[in-house]
């Protein structure tokens, strides 16, 4: 590592922040693009599992809330892709890499949504897991990304309230409604445990090294479990892991080791809904390709 890079590394490790026009090592820039682009892709792909339920929302209030929530996610993708664009990769290139399967998106968006219970579990718990990661990005060494995270975290916190409200209505409803939530939780628990990634020590995580992330994977997962396991149990729901308990002495949650090989398979396009989602996005992009052509021709 040359002296300039070493100095840069020490600067970000001591809490320093970088702006778009500042000098940065190529490796840092490429790590940033990879990380932030995946975040943008995840927001955009995250729209698809929920969008199926926009047409099925059971009350006017839920319809409005769900449409607004999904609209927020698209808005996040828009903001995040702008940050990537400033780093040198245009939005269309990100979308090309997304639909071709070259770029990744978050594990939870590779799964199908089967019932209205999923809508509640996603808005409450998937967004809760996401906000743990996103709050840690408020301290990201790349300042433009840290700044947009304020708006994103603020909106995500509303999604959690919406999700919890959907869940509350169902767990206090009929037995069948309660079971919809329990069944959804049973299916979503493994993806939720995968969400923060394998427990690689923070010091070996390149994203932590450059202070793109400000915490390690296991730290994030522990924070999620600490915040939400008591809330889930309070509603009378059962978490499908008999080993899950808190070691009060050490202050850490113990759980059955998730299958990390499965996580790797899912995020590389082998999840239960990965190919279907990508095919849908490719197809819908082809359907409207002429619009871009017409608008760009006019702008030229």
């Amino acid at each position: 590592m040359d002296a300039r890079t070493q100095e840069f590394l020490e600067y970000v490790q001591s809490g320093g922040q970088v702006e778009t026009g500042d000098w940065m090592p190529d490796e840092y820039r490429s790590k940033l693009v990879k990380f932030i682009e995946m975040h943008g892709n995840s927001e955009l792909m995250g729209v698809l599992p929920e969008r199926d339920w926009i047409l099925r929302a059971p009350t006017l209030q839920r319809k409005l809330a769900l449409t607004a929530k999904i609209q927020d996610e698209v808005g996040h993708a828009q903001l995040i892709y702008r940050v990537v664009e400033d780093l040198g990769k245009p939005r269309t290139a990100c979308l090309d890499d997304l639909v071709s399967g070259k770029a990744k998106f978050h594990n939870v968006f590779h799964y199908p949504t089967k019932t209205w219970g999923d809508v509640g579990v996603i808005a409450w718990l998937v967004d809760a897991a996401a906000i743990v990661s996103q709050k840690a990005l408020l301290k990201c060494s790349y300042a433009p990304y840290a700044r947009i995270m304020k708006k994103i975290c603020w909106e995500e916190s509303f999604h959690i309230l919406h999700g919890r409200d959907v869940i509350l209505a169902m767990v206090t409803g009929t037995q069948e409604q309660f079971e919809l939530v329990q069944e959804a939780l049973d299916r979503w628990w493994e993806p939720l445990m995968h969400f923060h990634g394998n427990p690689i020590p923070a010091d070996e995580d390149p994203m932590f090294l450059w202070r793109i992330k400000s915490q390690g994977n296991e730290e994030a997962r522990q924070q999620f479990l600490d915040g939400y396991v008591p809330q889930i149990r309070e509603l009378g729901l059962e978490i499908p892991d008999p080993a899950l308990r808190k070691d009060e002495e050490k202050g850490v949650w113990l759980y059955t080791e998730p299958d990390w090989e499965k996580l790797r398979a899912v995020v590389t396009g082998n999840g239960p809904a990965s190919q279907e989602r990508l095919a849908f996005r490719r197809l819908s992009r082809e359907d409207v390709a002429w619009v871009e052509r017409v608008v760009l021709a006019e702008a030229a």
Partner: protein, 224 residues
Amino acid sequence: MTRDRIELLLSIADDELFLGWRNSEWTGIAPFLEEDVAFSSIAQNEIGHARALYELAAAELGTTADELAFDRKPEEYRCAPLVQLRRLEWARTIARHWLYETADEIRLAALKASDDPEIAGVAAKIDREEAYHRMHAEMWIDRLLASEEGRARLNEAMDELWPYALGVLDDELRPELRRRAQERLGRTLADVEPIPRGVHEAELAELWQEMTAVRRSAPAGSQW
């Protein structure tokens, strides 16, 4: 409350509800992220308008906005066939958007002059938001008309949807819609038979099945 008044409120509310539902079909898959956001916003506004109108009717009928929106049979909805059509490709989406917003503006102008203060009030409130939908629709008409390909696609879509658009309005308001549409497109539109309110496209029943599926899965009166 007269039967006519309830009929009027439900007709407009059903239009806004179904168009809101149809516009939300673009959430996540519009040609640009900006249009995802725009169509989602418009959808939310339309559904908010439907709710305000259903609430007026529900107060008189002793029911709720949700029950009016979801719990009637498909054949009981009064919406115009224009808003029943499932997600259309982009040129038709823009054509429907412009035609509906223009028809709605003509209808709202008449309602704002109503001597029923509740109806005049809610029409004025709705019109304040619709003004932004109209700006959005106008921008897209400009964009499509600006190129040969866009113009051809838009014209084809307008011709196809024209009889449906006429069906949104009562007889006496139709000439005004024709005048505005012909002026905007710079050409004459065909003299066709309107496809009026009361006609139920197959797509209405299909959408109804989908939009009420979750709600119908629990006994009536369940909380969601």
